[in-house]
């Protein structure tokens, strides 16, 4: 359980985050994407497979939200953040779904089938602790940002008329979310440095992208994402090291994670790691 002082600090950070979001980051699925540009355009199947994959990952929103709200229920700033975050995230799967539909890459029936297949499975939060979930959130949002930035570049090279703008809009949201979580981690570090560092090392060691193993045809999706330039090296270089730097830390600050706290996750290797938290 967090202290009252920490919860007050969370709330102040949330107000700053929310004010900025309201003033500078709101966007509209229907009017901020120039959908007319899709007329006569033949979408690239590699791009649409990726868009469908990310759309599916974003579709586990009900599970993400439930996990956050359950953990943060008594924490005003964090619970209100989760509610606002859920609104922003809801647009992510929606805009990608609209892209798949309006570009003609997928028909309505296909999209409904896909949605049902995705939602038939349930995502489980990897950690049952608020601080670890906060660290997980920072990593996951930053990784998603990096993935969307790469997709944006790739879609631009392949001449897609709307995907670069879609990925810019949703990537900007992901970066804002990651920054909020980083603020929360800073506050945790100030209150309990050793405990927070231990959690940071643990989550880094066991991090997996959400729902990556829940999606239908997971293996071929991972293939395409790797081809799009997301692998463990990128994760280290563009997520982990910048995140540590942002927190004023280096890898020498991280304690060694005891081997017995970690387990190998069966099944296909994750996009980033094979390890997981022992439950």
């Amino acid at each position: 359980m967090t202290s009252r002082a920490l919860r007050e600090a969370f709330h102040r950070e949330y107000l700053t985050f929310f004010e900025r979001a309201e003033r500078t980051r709101r966007w509209n699925v229907f009017t901020d994407v120039d959908w007319d540009q899709l007329a006569g355009h033949q979408p690239d199947p590699r791009l649409t497979l990726c868009a469908e994959t990310f759309c599916g990952v974003e579709m586990y929103l009900p599970d993400y939200l439930r996990a956050h709200l359950e953990l943060m229920r008594g924490d005003y700033g964090r619970a209100w953040f989760a509610a606002n975050w859920g609104y922003e995230e809801a647009k992510h799967s929606l805009v990608l779904r609209e892209y798949l539909r309006r570009s003609g890459a997928r028909g309505d029936d296909e999209l409904h089938d896909y949605t049902e297949a995705v939602l038939a499975r349930t995502w489980q939060a990897p950690y049952d602790d608020g601080r670890r979930m906060t660290i997980y959130g920072a990593l996951q949002e930053m990784t998603t940002f990096v993935i969307y930035r790469k997709q944006r570049g790739w879609a631009g090279q392949l001449g897609d008329p709307v995907l670069p703008e879609i990925y810019r809009l949703i990537g900007r949201d992901e970066m804002a979310h990651s920054r909020f979580y980083l603020k929360m981690i800073e506050l945790h570090l100030a209150e309990d440095r050793d405990g927070t560092l231990a959690d940071l090392a643990f989550v880094l060691r066991t991090f997996r992208m959400p729902a990556e193993d829940l999606l239908p045809d997971y293996d071929s999706r991972i293939e395409v994402m790797r081809a799009a330039g997301v692998d463990r090296g990128v994760f280290l270089a563009e997520v982990v090291l910048p995140l540590l730097k942002e927190l004023g830390l280096t890898r020498h600050d991280l304690p060694r994670v005891p081997a017995e706290a970690v387990t190998e996750i069966p099944g296909p290797p994750g996009l980033l790691t094979q390890a997981g938290a022992k439950r």
Partner: protein
Amino acid sequence: MSTEELLALIRTGIADVTGRPAPALDIDTGIEALGLDSLQTLELVSWAEERLAIRVPDEELATVRSIGDLTGALSARLPGEPR
């Protein structure tokens, strides 16, 4: 320190960090192919730094993709070593 000696040191480090015997490796072996997690890669570098009494800046690790990149980053900091 020769490349062979560095490779042997890294193998010991991999075994220490992962708790499993290290596979055979050469300079072309990819870090990812070794199954090292991102944090294990960082731990491996820290482990080697301690043994060699050197420090590799975090920024440089961003470009480490293979065992050869790693031996390069380490040997560049060893006193009297040709780069």
